[in-house]
Amino acid sequence: MERKFVCIRCPQGCEITTTLNGNGAITEITGNSCRIGADFVKAELTDARRTLTTTVRVSGGTRPLCPVWTEKPVPKDKVLDLAAQLRTITLNAPVSAGQIIIKNAAGTGINIVASAPVMAPGGK
């Protein structure tokens, strides 16, 4: 059986074709320009992951929102749940860049961190 993927690991977006045998094991990978692409399709077949980026409410800051992201990709089926969870929390300003917002989010072992700072009024 053949399965086709578009690699999302860099903007080039290579079209990668994988051939699977009867047990679902990969016998051939073609179309990738680099190793990352091969790793990507292997992961898509066994443990598909995505980086989640979203915002979290901040109170007492110069801005109402802080942009956050999962430091590493999390299992794809956890993305919507995590986004919903992050809609329910509010941080207090100031928030610093890289600050951990949720440790070990949804048991994935991966932290959610701020991708930019939010100041409190008057500087820090």
Binding site: F5, S33, T53, L65, P67, A83
Partner: protein, 424 residues
């Protein structure tokens, strides 16, 4: 704030920040960035998704994190950034007028100016969507700002017109914030954004995409109530009987970006009609001595990393100009030939390619006219002679191609050069 600066940069986006940093590092004395927004970073603070930095940082960063690195570096170098200030006019002799609500009218004189104003979005007026005029029609970038910066959700049920990257990224974003994205419709028979965004923004969330489809009519008195879509044929004419009405409260337009060049024109800078931005040489110099340009103001880039790189080149050369270290140039033009829509830079200094021994790398950004499904060759020609050839596995109008050309390859050129794409 002084009234004279060695280098003044207009716009504190990634292009402007990189330009100011390099100008300072090259040896320019006082460097000022003027920014109309209330924070530096350009559009990056609202681009909270990852996908930035793969070339420069070899990392996959969110937009705000990418910008943060440059903002901190600019601060450390003592570059002055004046916010909430709009540049109103630039003259060919490099006088700048600006205004803000604190100081009122401001005037500056600059040794060199770098234009880094970015781009603006095409609107409903630019593409003429017929129908009622209700509330609920937005450009994708406006909604991105509302959702990611202001914390406002402008609707519940969205239809998106245009499969550009901003549209697809907003489809995912709105879904993550709990809204419904009913469909993305695209006039052209192919995706206009990157395919990775189709996969991770639409496919991952089961958001349907209809190609060769457009919005025929917007329906609704006060607020959008529905849109009527229609399929189009190969010549983009509507096919009757294919109408479909989709009930929704919001329509997002992601129908392209236009370089922002009102100021450039006032300064006497000549624009290239193919890119909509200043025609520049490989140093990012415009036709006006001492005025440079970089980033989306020059041409719409796919990748911020190349925007920053262009900014660095502009910054270095603007600083050299103020230090009297640039001579009056002679050029060969770089002309888009068969299969090529646009090329930046539009001209190359002959002195830069005269010597085989002095090799420097120049970046050439081009877009093709139509889709090439298989292997293509991009050749730089001097008459019939191929000076440089580069192979790509395929080429698509939506994806900018960046050539890193060693100038020694172009040595011996005898006149204007043509860039052509062919499948040979």
């Amino acid at each position: 704030m002084n009234t004279t600066y060695d280098v003044v940069v207009v716009g504190a986006g990634p292009a402007g920040l990189a330009a100011a940093i390099e100008a300072k590092k090259t040896g320019a004395g006082d460097v000022l960035i003027i920014e109309r927004n209330d924070e530096p970073g350009g559009i990056l603070p609202q681009c909270i998704h990852n996908g930035f930095g793969s070339v420069i940082f070899k990392k996959d960063l969110p937009g705000p994190a990418y910008a943060y690195n440059f903002i901190e570096e600019a601060k450390t170098l003592g570059i002055e950034i004046v916010l909430d200030t709009m540049v109103l006019n630039i003259t060919p002799d490099k006088k700048i007028t600006a205004a803000n609500s604190r100081d009122g009218f401001l005037e500056f004189e600059a040794g060199a100016i770098i234009l880094a104003m970015g781009c603006r979005e095409r609107t409903r007026a630019n593409i003429r969507v017929p129908g009622d005029r209700p509330a609920g029609v937005f450009t994708a970038g406006t909604v991105q700002r509302l959702v990611n910066i202001e914390g406002l959700m402008p609707g519940k049920n969205f239809v998106i017109l245009g499969s550009g990257d901003i549209g697809m990224i907003m489809a995912r974003r709105l879904t993550l914030e709990g809204a419904n994205v009913l469909k993305v419709v695209e006039l052209m028979p192919c995706l206009t954004g990157l395919r990775r965004n189709y996969v991770q923004c639409l496919q991952d969330f089961n958001i349907p995409l209809s190609l060769s489809t457009t919005i025929k009519r917007i329906i609704g008195k006060k607020r959008v109530e529905a849109v009527e879509t229609v399929k189009v044929d190969e010549s983009l004419n509507p096919i009757s009987g294919t109408q479909e009405t989709i009930a929704c409260d919001s329509l997002l337009l992601s129908v392209g970006l236009i370089p922002e060049n009102e100021l450039s024109k006032k300064a006497g800078v000549i624009l290239d009609p193919l890119t909509g931005g200043p025609a520049v040489d490989e140093n990012m110099a415009t036709n006006i001595n001492g005025i440079y340009a970089a980033g989306n103001v020059v041409t719409i880039y796919d990748l911020v990393d190349y925007v920053s790189k262009a900014g660095m080149i502009a910054g270095t050369n603007a600083a050299l100009y103020t230090m009297g270290k640039s001579s009056s140039p002679k050029y060969y033009r770089l002309i888009p030939g068969d299969g090529v829509r646009s090329v930046v830079p539009q001209r190359i200094n002959t002195s830069n390619i005269a010597l085989k021994s002095s090799s420097t790398e120049i970046l050439i950004e081009l877009r093709v006219l139509h889709e090439f499904d298989s292997k293509v060759f991009i050749d730089i020609m001097d008459g019939d002679k191929v000076l440089y050839s580069h192979m790509e596995k395929y080429a698509r109008p939506a994806e900018m191609i960046t050539l890193r050309v060693d100038t020694s390859k172009l040595a011996g050129a005898t006149g204007d050069l043509t860039v052509v794409v062919s499948s040979k």
